[in-house]
Symmetry: C2
Subunit: 323 residues, 2 copies
């Protein structure tokens, strides 16, 4: 039976040695070389718990890659480049070597994909697979949730609804055409945080948030923290979402607004900078979509459609939502 030391060995041996300035993995603490002069330390931790975050069919490799990706997405939304990460892993007693190797492979893949070095971690016994990813990077400043002002465009880096659809397919056996099915499941198993895009467009963003709790909550959070109203003129549906919804008698709007787990960036851009911001995104093969505008809180509080219908403050909420 594997113990803590076996697990650490199985993971760390798949990573090459760390460069000068880092402490080799295996001391009491990790050491990361300082950023450039004046750069703050950017930190994020995000805990993946298998029972609520790992649907049927998702391997430990996918889970560990996703745990790292969840942090990468937050860095992307803030315009900060991540440098390194640690993982605190809880696994059940008697976990097989094969599963630990899977977990290690996902971390290796994440490390390569997003250019982040594994610098340390911790291994514990738990009833369920638990991966708490801790990410560190450096930045002079970050884009805040509170920076939006009235009269700006509300933008997103992508479409919504595909991950809710993927979860419906996996958990409730919802029907879907082969192409949509593949895309939807892939967005659950192998999310693609918008790191390069986030780093490129951050200078245009007055406020931003990672959309992983859902589009509606993200918009409400920007509204609350910035003290602005949000008029939502378009719900950016994933291609094929409406067919999928009607095939299964779901509401496409519900799926897109209140699902969560899409790792897109939601933010605001001053109207004078939108052309440049969209051009930058396009130069990277992405589309920055305008989905609404911010208005004075005297005109509108919270988040509404143009016809006055309210967008609920609802989405993925831990301890409330059903997995």
């Amino acid at each position: 039976m594997l113990d803590e030391y076996d697990v650490i060995r199985l993971i760390t041996k798949r990573f090459g040695p760390l460069p000068e300035g880092y402490a080799p993995i295996g001391d009491d603490v990790a050491l990361v070389p300082p950023g450039r002069a004046g750069e703050c330390v950017v930190l994020k931790c995000d805990m993946l718990v298998a029972r609520t975050d790992v649907p049927p069919g998702m391997s430990w490799k996918m889970a560990s890659r996703k745990a790292v990706g969840m942090c990468v997405s937050d860095f992307a939304a803030k315009g900060a480049r991540p440098t390194a990460f640690m993982v605190s892993v809880g696994i059940p007693k008697g976990t097989s070597e094969g599963r630990v190797v899977e977990l290690a492979s996902g971390l290796v893949e994440a490390s390569r994909e997003w250019g982040v070095r594994l610098v340390g971690g911790d291994t514990s016994e738990a009833d369920d697979l638990i991966i708490d990813c801790v990410m560190v990077g450096f930045a002079k400043e970050i884009v805040r949730r509170k920076g939006a002002r009235p009269g700006e465009y509300v933008v997103t880096t992508g479409t919504f609804g595909r991950t809710s659809a993927g979860l419906k397919i996996l958990m409730e056996g919802a029907k879907a055409g082969p192409r949509f099915r593949k895309e939807a499941i892939s967005s659950v198993f192998a999310p693609r945080p918008r790191l390069d895009l986030g780093l490129a467009i951050s200078r245009y963003l007055s406020s931003s948030i990672d959309s992983s709790d859902g589009l509606a909550i993200s918009l409400h959070t920007i509204s609350e923290m910035s003290g602005v109203g949000v008029r939502l003129t378009e719900v950016p549906y994933e291609k094929g979402l409406e067919e999928f919804a009607s095939l299964n008698s779901y509401s496409a709007e519900e799926l897109a607004l209140y699902g969560g787990e899409e790792y897109e960036i939601v933010g605001t851009v001053g109207k004078g900078r939108i052309r440049e911001a969209k051009g930058k995104a396009r130069s990277m093969g992405c589309e920055l979509r305008v989905i609404g505008e911010t208005v004075s809180p005297d005109v509108l509080k919270g988040v509404e459609f143009p016809d006055g219908r309210k967008v609920r403050r609802d989405g993925w909420v831990h301890l409330r939502s059903k997995p």
Copy 2:
């Protein structure tokens, strides 16, 4: 029923606002001002899982304080001052407000006691209480596990066996006199990492390790990573340990060497510096005990008593040890 946002509110409202340079809690990432020029970022994560780490009678307040203390102890052993911390918390659905307030109180206490600021965290649903503490600080260099050379003294900042005894009292109903009982249980519920002492003596240490996995494993780790043998001339028993052991038919040596969870520093000091190192510790009201010496690996491999008896590489090992 409390949800994620309630939990975050209950915790953060007990903390004052962060000073200039930090991002207020509640954005996608935490921001910590840079260290002084040339200082590296020191990072540690340590996961507490209630099922294995929280014995009967230990409150959530004690558990959350201890989760932070576990990281503080690693910083202490490395001679690095911690600056800030985050916590990823997993709690069962339906957890009462009272328990979350307890958890928050433990974090507040830890924050004050060790001068570390709470800068962020994450809340998830889990079957069991899980607290992953993430600590950050700055240091030009740290004392490594690998720095010992032959011909040095092996030292500790305290005695051993009280925490194993405390666990025996709590889990197996072992008998003890009132004073020993109190000390032993307190070392389980309210460990006292050696932060001030560690910061003061780090300049004298050629190698060091936090002893939380037990004295024997700590000595073996220094031996392996430094490539030296360790001759253990004294097992530093907690006062009253031998009476406790004989009262319950335990072996005091087993309790002191192979228990774990004592948050002491184990390290090595060059013979020419030992007087100064001991004097420094004494000036802080602590005793730095010489418990052995390092020898060339040609003479001795691993860890032995002077009569040649081997010290086993055994102690608290996650996924192997019984809680």
